[in-house]
């Protein structure tokens, strides 16, 4: 099983970006690259080579699902788990996100102390 080290986090809200970075680095010991837009993620993804991608759903210009589609055109992310982050999740929406190729969905607001565990669990299931 490959090891989970590098997480690409795409989120336009600077406060959330900061708290997720701190939480994932300090609690989980991951190395995190934060991007503020889908475009930035597209520019950075090849250089950073993430093991896991965390995508905010609602962003201006290019939203999470659009970013995922573009990412997929750019790199073979078939093996990289992708989780969407969103504030509102109906069961039908989860199904929708999954059909877009997301491995899982993480709900906002999240608890910074538990975010790493949640991501680890998604990772384990994706590779289990």
């Amino acid at each position: 099983m490959p090891e989970l080290k590098r997480i690409l986090h795409v989120e336009d809200d600077p406060s959330i970006q900061a708290v997720a970075k701190v939480a994932l680095e300090a609690v989980g010991g991951f190395s995190v690259l934060s991007c503020s837009s889908g475009q930035e993620a597209l520019d950075q993804v090849l250089g950073f080579a993430p093991d896991f991608i965390l995508l905010d759903v609602m962003m201006p210009d290019m939203d999470g699902p659009q970013t995922l589609t573009k990412l997929r055109e750019l790199v073979d992310i078939g093996l990289i788990p992708v989780a969407f982050m969103t504030a509102k999740v109906q069961p039908s929406e989860i199904a929708h996100y999954r059909s877009l190729g997301a491995t899982d969905v993480i709900i906002k607001p999240f608890n910074p102390m538990q975010l790493s565990t949640q991501i680890r669990a998604i990772w384990d299931r994706a590779h289990g």
Partner: protein
């Protein structure tokens, strides 16, 4: 202090600092929101209203997602509620626009039909007219695809009698064109269409895949075999009916689809001594629009359940002084809680211990850690089944309304709630006039359809918070919380007029039916006295010539 602890402390400090920064940001952002709200008040064209509303919705959505992460739970929750309200306002603006568009199209079409100005033969009697109804209530739109015209028309007319706005299409092409113009609230589709090059199911499956939110789908067929049923399930059907049709059953199922669609949020109770985890689960489930209450002290479980009335219980399997299964058994001692599904939360993966716990009063297991969406899916599925089951047991099979005992209980509950809140409830007792004559003249099947029509009308006209029950044969009981007797009188009198305007048909005969009602509302009275007063008022209405609404004196 060891290194790990030191790290944790640093992290906490860091998080706190970020929280303070976020609070500063809020000091800017909240006045901004208020500013937009003021703009909204001044905006006078629909476009700028829509623009402002969607920007407010997006901003509130962000806030709902972020505030809780920094510990501002109250703010996050309020933002979420306001976000939903913004969404609803947007929806209703869009609907208004759509209706205006439809109206304009209608006028345009009128101008395009020269044959309308030519003299025509006397109009044939339609078997169901609901003009007055359709104009005052938002009737649900049902599209029917049925190549046998007589069957299709029959369904259409019957559904219209029940207050729906049904349209019948014989060909896929015509249905497709109508759907492109206006999306219906549900579809009824015949599987066997010999004239077409695809079956009705193929069409429905493709359509539902195309749509973001699949439409409720009922399937009609002459083949009652496993393969067809399986295909129906795969196409997303929620009902399967074999010809010859029982249209009342069809309508029943339709009503159930809608009840499920916009039912109240599911109520979930979480009992876990780990406060962090309980609030985490609670957040996740609330995000999926469920109502959640958490409880740390298991000794209060019975009182908490009585006041919250949960539909699903999540129970930690091992708490300091109690085992989850012990608690579950205590709950099951009480007959009222036999139906509530209990899901154990457990870090236990050993199957034998899980089995042992299940045998003791539980229904399911969630193994920690669980992903957010598995949690939602598990709880949602349990809650949905539990509610369906509970409805099947407590609801009258003809009307789908509460049964005698359950509606009486509801009156008592509302009266009690009124005492606490200081807002009084009104009780309405309703009875169909000369119902025996309807049964004698036209038969019981027609009589049943009259009862169902009234039940539907009541359901459509009363609010979601009102409770409605079938009290006896043709007698209904409703309780309207936070509603004065005078307000109730106005609403019920409108319902009386609308009901008398419904034109029922039996064969080629048409007839109208009226109703009488009695209303009582007095804070502080016992529920039984209130019902008695309403009953007396109903009696007076009957004796003063029927077809009227009376207030209790």
């Amino acid at each position: 202090m060891d290194k790990r602890q030191q790290q944790l402390q640093q992290l906490q400090a860091h998080l706190q600092q970020l929280g303070e920064q976020f609070a500063q940001r809020l000091q800017q952002e909240l006045p901004e929101l208020a500013g937009k709200a003021r703009q909204l008040q001044q905006a006078d064209d629909v476009e700028s209203q829509q623009h402002l509303l969607s920007s407010l919705r997006d901003q509130l959505h962000k806030l709902a997602g972020s505030a809780g992460t920094f510990g501002f739970n109250g703010l996050g929750q309020q933002a979420r509620e306001l976000e939903q309200q913004a969404e609803q306002w947007l929806d209703s603006l869009q609907q208004k626009q759509q209706r205006l568009q439809d109206f304009i199209h209608g006028l345009e079409r009128l101008a395009e039909q020269p044959q309308l100005i030519e003299p025509e033969a006397a109009p044939a009697g339609t078997s169901a007219r609901l003009a007055s109804l359709a104009s005052t209530t938002c009737a649900r739109v049902i599209y029917i695809l049925e190549d046998e015209s007589s069957i299709g028309e029959n369904i259409r007319l019957t559904l219209n009698t029940f207050g729906y706005k049904a349209e019948h299409f014989s060909r896929i092409e015509a249905l497709d064109a109508a759907i492109a113009k206006h999306l219906p609230d549900a579809l009824i589709i015949d599987v066997n269409l010999p004239e077409e090059n695809q079956t009705g199911l193929d069409y429905a499956a493709a359509l539902n895949q195309r749509l973001e939110e699949p439409l409720p789908l009922l399937v009609l067929t002459t083949q009652n075999d496993f393969t067809t049923q399986l295909q129906a399930v795969r196409a997303g059907a929620q009902g399967f009916f074999t010809k010859p049709l029982d249209i009342t059953k069809l309508e029943n199922r339709l009503e159930r689809c809608f009840a499920q669609q916009n039912g109240e949020p599911y109520r979930v109770m979480i009992v876990d001594d780990d406060r962090d985890l309980a609030s985490r689960y609670s957040l996740v489930l609330r995000g999926a629009d469920m109502l959640v209450e958490t409880l740390q002290n298991p000794e209060q479980i019975l009182a908490a359940m009585a006041s919250f009335n949960p539909e699903v219980l999540l129970l930690d399997i091992s708490m300091p002084n109690y085992g989850g299964p012990e608690l579950a058994q205590i709950i099951r001692f009480n007959d009222d809680w036999l139906r509530v599904p209990i899901i154990y939360l457990s870090a236990e993966t050993a199957i034998t211990r899980q089995m042992g716990a299940l045998v003791k009063a539980g229904d399911d297991f969630i193994t920690k850690p669980i992903s957010d969406n598995s949690l939602i899916t598990t709880v949602f599925a349990r809650a949905q089944r539990a509610r369906l089951l509970s409805n099947a047991l407590s609801r009258d099979s003809l009307t789908g309304l509460l049964k005698h005992a359950d509606i009486k209980e509801q009156v008592a509950l509302e009266q009690e709630r009124g005492l606490r809140s200081g807002k009084s409830a009104s009780v309405v007792m309703l009875d169909i006039d000369h119902f025996k004559q309807v049964n004698d003249n036209y038969g019981h099947v027609v009589g049943d359809s009259v009862i169902r029509a009234l039940a539907n009308l009541l359901r459509q006209r009363l609010r979601r918070i009102d409770s409605l029950g079938r009290y006896g044969g043709e007698e209904f009981l409703a309780v309207l919380p936070d509603c004065s007797a005078a307000q109730a009188e106005r609403i019920v009198d409108e319902i009386r007029q609308q009901f008398s305007a419904i034109c029922f048909s039996a064969g080629d005969r048409e007839f109208n039916v009226t109703l009488s009602a009695g209303i009582a509302g007095a804070p502080g009275l016992a529920a039984s006295e209130l019902m008695e007063q309403a009953d007396r008022a109903l009696y007076q209405a009957k004796h003063s010539g029927r077809n009227q609404v009376r207030l209790a004196e």
